[in-house]
Amino acid sequence: MKPTERFRQRYVAFSLAVEGKPPSATEAKRLVHEHFLSFFGELGIASLAFKLVSYEEGSGMGIVRCERSAVEETILCMALLSEWEGRSARMEPISTSGTIRRVSRK
């Protein structure tokens, strides 16, 4: 694919907590996928080029990828997480960048 045809990606670093503690990797993956799917829908997820890039169980820090034009929607989606399976949850966006390296540094 030509570089001009490729979608422009952005990486958003976040911190995740369920009842004040970082969830396990399995639970975090399920939570993030289901929350984004609930907000965007199947077609929206496809348009977003969404991917959970990484998640660190100890600190609750993770990185998601999205399309450049949908960064604000992605951040709002994170902000709208307030509970998960009856427990209070919070997904706070930390930083945004075009590369994983830079967003991890911030």
């Binding site: 609930s38 604000e72 929607e73 951040i75 709002l76 902000a79 307030s82 706070e92």
Partner: protein, 150 residues
């Protein structure tokens, strides 16, 4: 950026310069009917919050004349799921467009009832973008909130 909240004694989130309870803002009005809208607009420089996000043109024109603004609350979305949340976002977008058409300004805040509902400045910015604010309106909104709250 200022954040308007319902509860008192809340701490600031990152990106928020000041947290102001609505009880301290004398020009904040919750508008439930046309009469409330007229009372709010009469005072001038009012912050009008429409819980149903439905406002008639007359109310918006009066608000615009008085130099006031319509308030959009992020915590209203936190209490909803699925289709209902989608409908609420849609209503907010329509109200933003209607306010813009009538020359009325708009302001975003959390109207948080607890610490759990507080959000950062970046998240409020994203909320404003998604409900239809353009870049100019976002800057104006931040400045106007400071002026109207005082």
């Amino acid at each position: 950026m200022i954040d308007l909240v319902i509860a008192e004694g809340m701490k600031k989130s990152p990106g928020i310069s000041r947290v102001v309870p609505v009880s301290k803002a004398s020009n904040f009005f919750e508008v439930r009917c046309a009469q409330d809208a007229k009372s709010a607009a009469r005072g001038g420089r009012a912050l009008a919050y429409f819980p149903s996000y439905e406002a008639d043109e007359g109310a918006l024109v009066e608000l615009a004349r008085g130099g006031g603004a319509v308030v959009f609350s992020l915590s209203d979305l936190l209490g909803q799921r699925g289709f209902k949340r989608g409908i609420l976002i849609s209503k907010m977008r329509l109200l933003v467009a209607a306010a813009r058409k009538r020359g009325c300004a708009s302001v975003v805040c959390t109207l948080a009832r607890s610490e759990r509902e507080l959000r950062t400045g970046r998240e409020l910015l994203a909320f404003a973008c998604v409900i239809g604010f353009c870049d100019v309106e976002i800057k104006k909104s931040a400045r106007l909130a400071e002026e109207l709250v005082g």
